[in-house]
Symmetry: C2
Subunit: 313 residues, 2 copies
Amino acid sequence: MKNLNLPKKVFIKEVGPRDGFQIEKKFVPTENKIEVIDMLSACGFADIQYTAFVHPKAIPNMADAAEVSAKIKRPAGVEFTALIPNQKGYERACGLGLKRVELTMSATDSHNLSNLNCTSLESIARLEECLKLGLETQLCAGLAVVFGCPFEGRPPYERIRMLVDRIVGLGIKDLGLADTSGVGDPKQVYDICARLVDAYPSVTFYVHVHNTHGAAVANILAAMQAGITHFDSSVAGLGGCPYAPGASGNVATEDIVQIFEYMGIETGIDIDRLIAAAKRVEEIVGHSDSATLKAGKMGHLVEGGPICQNNRQ
Amino acid sequence: MKNLNLPKKVFIKEVGPRDGFQIEKKFVPTENKIEVIDMLSACGFADIQYTAFVHPKAIPNMADAAEVSAKIKRPAGVEFTALIPNQKGYERACGLGLKRVELTMSATDSHNLSNLNCTSLESIARLEECLKLGLETQLCAGLAVVFGCPFEGRPPYERIRMLVDRIVGLGIKDLGLADTSGVGDPKQVYDICARLVDAYPSVTFYVHVHNTHGAAVANILAAMQAGITHFDSSVAGLGGCPYAPGASGNVATEDIVQIFEYMGIETGIDIDRLIAAAKRVEEIVGHSDSATLKAGKMGHLVEGGPICQNNRQ
């Protein structure tokens, strides 16, 4: 092979305000959520997953979804989307005029049961119920633990294929594939994505990776080579799993934007505004998981910096 | 493309005892160095770069190179190699009976001058002087800042090619290509490695990456696809640059061993012994930069673990 067959342009959905804030143990004040979302909507994202319409007992940090929806700025060109678990969440999102929502489910029954108290196929039935309502809000789907489940390990491809087939059979055109706890490897990500892209050329697959084992960027690279051009990521690397010691957050948006731009892959994101948003997020939640926030812009080291002792190699 | 064209087997040179310990501000006690090297030599590495023969004023932590050399265990099948900057280091290493050493230099003059007080071509002249001695110890070369220099940015390929050509012209068969401050990107790493592998089919190129911007594993994946099968890495992710804020260490050996094994790429390394060594290193130096030390073995999350809130996705 003479090149990596990389795309010229990728589409990044910023999911930090949802996947990140949802797992913070302390409630993130509504005004801070709005402030961060407004900073993000000035960065050039076409899609910001800004909240989830879920039961506040399940995810207390999303209890202010309606107030956030009412108060965020809505600049032209930015679509504000949300995550939903079921028909109730769908109806709430529709009532607030959302153009698109993502119904989430898991690739394994044990994981689906632990999160949604039903099997994967029962979640697909919920998706079908939502579709039958004939509402205006477009429905997408997100499949968690595609690349590894905390309870069942790695689901067989046939299982993933069966679920994708049912979902696509309902007319869904946008489908997320999530490495929810960050246990995928690049070969596996490539193999699964390449087969799905081949099988469903009219579907847009979003790859959503966490960096638990340090393979997030490599998994994205492998997904790109399999034909994936749509990715989820979180500002400041928010997300992760507070109950799995050491489990990491989503790959940091500012990290992949920097790497992509150096690779000549267009993102449309203003990196300086994004880094400012990441710093603000870090101030608000008190932590981050971002190489960029630790090391600065890649240019900082590339274009000038102090002598490194280990430059001896 | 239908697959990533990955190798079945890779060769990992453990460089932590050299690249890691050399930049510790506090002197790492000699007995601790020996303890760690002995733990590493039981992991299955064929090559451990265990010290450097450099002026103790330049790198105080390598001042005990002779004592370490005398006291480490030397199990069959493990080669103990070292870094040298010049003829004096070469003669010291030869005097201690080393089978192989790596003479380091930089891809840019400004970097070479800052580290070795001579230009890149003057370092190549030093390499030639060493070769002329006709000693038994095999000479390899290592080229720093190939993928980005703190002073000059990214060297043009023609510059890299010219230096490699001179080095290979002297009969060198093993040549390291280092992303010394961790500023490379996967496309760049692929492009440079693919061209060099094509141009010098009889040379073994080692790729040496740091994880400053989170791209280390992706850069290794890209290098593999370019035909590279030899990599340097550091136990516990030691290394890095104490004077470049946030700059990260070498990619952690235990991280890449885990990821490679999940990819079906053989490393020959005993991951449990390696993780034990990494934990000991962390105790000794008081820090680490290792996803494995944070998150545990990949199986820990894949095969069983607590419910993650963010498994909603």
